[in-house]
Amino acid sequence: MTGVGAAPVARRGGQGGRGATVDVHASLLPLWRGLVLYRVVALAYAVANVVRFAEAYVRPALGVAVVVFMAAWTLVTSVAYLRGARRLALVDLAVTVGTTMTTVLVDDPARIAAGQPVITTVWSAAAVLAVAVAYGIRPALGAVVVSVAALAFTRQALDAALLSDAQLLLVAGVAVGFASVAMRRSAQRLQEAIATEAAAAERDRLARDIHDGVLQVLALVRRRGPELGDPDLVREAAEQEVSLRRLITRGPPGLDGPDDEPVDLGAAIGATLPSRAVLAVPPEPVDVPGGLARSVVAVVREAAANADAHAGPDCGLWVLLEDDDEAVTVSIRDDGPGIPEGRLEAAREEGHLGVASSIRGRTAELGGTADLVTAPGQGTEWELRFPR
């Protein structure tokens, strides 16, 4: 049981164990597996090569020893790479280059000069591929240079065969390095997406906890207000309760986005209103383009500030948001003394372009209409209608 469970965890390495994370190594595993397969096949080719040419070697016994070492090294690196030990790639490159250079001790210099393969044959390319998988394109190019230099030293020649080897190494190193970088990047993107999702889930969970605990206590403080004898504390609790509730029921308003990104106007207005305001909204979000939402919120804020100024900061304030296919309607009402008939007109004639004309002007700029209903003792009510 434990063995079955432990194997994948061990392969994933250190950080992969906890829930929803993407392990970069795990995402590169197909490349490492391909590399192991290549190395085993190349080893078989190298063994066949030694068996075939051992008689022609200067030191056949050393040749056999080198091939046995290659087999052992293939085993060690394969296990290590599949377990995520990518740093071994640089050691691998050094060991492989050294092994390639033993050719000068094993083989006959005349045969080497005639263009016979080095003792490691194509097996030596595996280290370049390992560097490419582990570190990407540029280190892979470095590994190609080192490998080609070792080949040139071994062969003591800069001939067509060397050029051909160099080209093949270059193509393989670049291709695998590119694949490695691309896979790593996509794994990171996936990791980011998962992190975002986890953050959203965590926010939902927090919202539920807040709903259960903090909101209940704040509401209790507010409700017990008169008995507690500390009006400041009660008002503070009330304000915190309202803003928390608005935050968790509709989410943050998100008014910073582009002009055409849809925004829930109910949430946006809720965030801008003082906590004593009562906000009535439809059951579903009222989505409007962000640019319109910003402008509407600015007008609502002005109307609310106007209510504060004329009816006092403790006046009742009600905001109703309505939505139909043609238009969005926002009504803002206070229960202050109201504006006597003619006073607005008089103010305008005197040249005081007051709040009223500012609200009308802003609404008209958005193609909407603003109606004012007011009378002494009846409060002041704006009805702003914005076409969709």
């Binding site: 009562v278 109703l320 139909d324």
Partner: protein, 226 residues
């Protein structure tokens, strides 16, 4: 206890113990008779028939059975009982769900003690406790139905209840925070007529629930024959 023969019998349903006990105590101190409390919807449905409350003060988000489900089940068993939703969450869908299930009113939890006691009393008296928030939700819900019907007229069922212009007018004024008396003054109606318009809009919302269920049943039947 403060029990008197005429005291309103109240059951308090809320999953938050401190809140539940606080509400029960506050209502008791104001002359209401709290006959039971329950910590979730399922418990409320089990207990209600034994204590026969006049008014159930119902939270919405609860384990086992939520407020809307518990409202429907309690009203099916006890048609004379009335449900007042008291919710902190302002979860719009949940509030509408409870109202469509038959709740007679909705009050936010931040309401003052006196306001809550008054709301329970009014609910027991047969009035709708209907604040601006609920009015906005109900208005929005009927608008949504109107719009959907316009977009797809073939889906519009005859007999789908809609608000009259007068009911819409009254609801809008409620949503703007006017009291029933202020609305009566402004529209030169009687206070009683304003109350009736509000009650009717709630009843129609509950009726849409039944119309939808009926339509669904008919469609299923027609499908089988065709």
């Amino acid at each position: 206890m403060t029990e008197t023969p005429t005291a309103v019998r109240v059951m308090v349903v809320d999953d938050h113990p401190m809140w539940r006990e606080g509400v029960a105590r506050d209502l008791g101190e104001r002359g209401l008779y709290v006959v039971a409390t329950a910590g979730d919807g399922a418990a409320a449905v089990r207990i209600a028939p034994a204590v026969r409350p006049d008014v159930v003060v119902m939270d919405l988000q609860m384990p086992h059975l939520d407020g809307a489900g518990a409202t429907a089940a309690i009203l099916a068993a006890l048609p004379g009982t009335r449900v007042l939703v008291l919710s902190a969450s302002a979860e719009h869908g949940d509030v509408l769900g409870a109202v469509r299930a038959g709740a007679a009113g909705y009050l936010v939890k931040s309401a003052q003690v006196a306001e809550l006691a008054d709301a329970v009393q009014r609910t027991a008296d047969g009035q709708a406790v209907f604040g601006p928030e609920l009015a906005g939700l109900v208005l929005g819900e009927f608008r949504r139905r109107d719009a959907a019907a316009k977009r797809e007229p073939q889906l519009q069922a005859s007999g789908e209840p809609a608000l009259t212009p007068r009911e819409t007018e009254v609801l809008r004024l409620v949503a703007k925070g006017l009291t029933a008396r202020q609305i009566a003054d402004r529209l030169t109606l009687s206070h009683r007529t304003v109350e009736n318009h509000v009650q009717n809009s709630l009843r129609k919302l509950q009726l849409t629930n039944r119309v939808e269920l009926t339509r669904y049943a008919i469609e299923q039947g027609l499908d089988r024959e065709g």
